[in-house]
Subunit: 185 residues, 2 copies
């Protein structure tokens, strides 16, 4: 297929297929970790993935891009810039100075929490598209949605580069559209 | 001054002055924390700061943008995209799957480390501009430079949004140009 005929998503899928680094047994035995660092470090691949994710976020009527700490920052920031939007940094607990709004969530072992500043930013009534690199269990993304809704923001959808099948991730995301750049594996 | 006459840096400085959130005694007593989350969450301010940092990175002949985990990702990713470059995610210890290259550095209390993948990315001979939100002690940025040089990359300079004066940050950065968007306070 000629370069022009390739859609934005095709180019992004090619980049992900070519540059993703696969590492067995990380962070624990039995997990195949998909490291996108080489995708982002390569100009052509990085631009291709950002372009596809921006196209998806625009379809979801994004007014602000929500980036998940920390790998979601690496994609969400560029997508926000391309669309001329702000990027909402959804931080892990303790990273932001008080006062903050906090949303706890269950992990496989124990709990974690996400936070937003409770001053200086007003997301009430805004359409927020949440961006991260991978949809796995969906726990973090689900918590991010609750956090945003607790600040009267509206999550109009999720855009991810890749998805790990079989972990029930989409069940945690509620009735919002989920767009994943790479085809399910 | 009319909108057109304002330089890229003037617009960015206005955005930082207007939107930065100041919080006393965070992360510890006596520290005035400057939270840029509201700057990034506002479309106009975010674009203004990214444009200024991209202008600076271009002056420093960037071939790749190095973003420091995690707030450096929020700026470095957009700057890289604007310049059509890749973004090198310089991660905190343990976040990347092996094999990795590690650079330890001293903290006020204890040590920390930064890591890069030792496969899948080739930065040998490349001009890398390091981007973070704040220049404080310069410890993390100095370690990032050593890490990149250990992979035969070349740090052609640093671009920061703001600088905390009086912490000797520049002493840690070696003989490379440092561009800070906001005027020294």
């Amino acid at each position: 297929m000629s370069e022009q005929a390739l859609s934005t998503f095709d180019r992004a899928r090619e980049a992900l297929d070519k540059k993703t680094r696969y590492v067995q047994d990380f962070p624990e035995k039995g997990v195949l970790f998909e490291d996108l660092t080489p995708v982002l470090g390569d100009a052509e691949s990085f631009v291709a993935v950002v372009d596809a994710m921006a196209e998806a976020a625009e379809k979801l009527n994004a007014e602000i891009i929500g980036g998940l700490d920390a790998r979601g920052f690496l994609l969400g920031s560029a997508v926000a810039y391309k669309l001329g939007l702000g990027v909402l940094a959804i931080r892990k607990k303790g990273k932001l100075p008080p006062p903050v709004v906090t949303q706890e969530y269950e992990l496989e072992y124990g709990t974690a929490a996400l936070e937003l500043p409770s001053e200086g930013i007003d997301i009430a009534g805004k359409n927020i598209v949440l961006i991260d690199d991978v949809l796995a269990t969906g726990g973090t993304l689900g918590a991010a949605r609750k956090l945003i809704e607790s600040c009267d923001g509206h999550v109009s959808g999720y855009v991810l580069a890749i998805e790990v099948p079989g972990l029930g991730g989409r069940d945690n995301l509620g009735d919002r559209p989920v767009i994943v750049v790479r085809d399910p594996q």
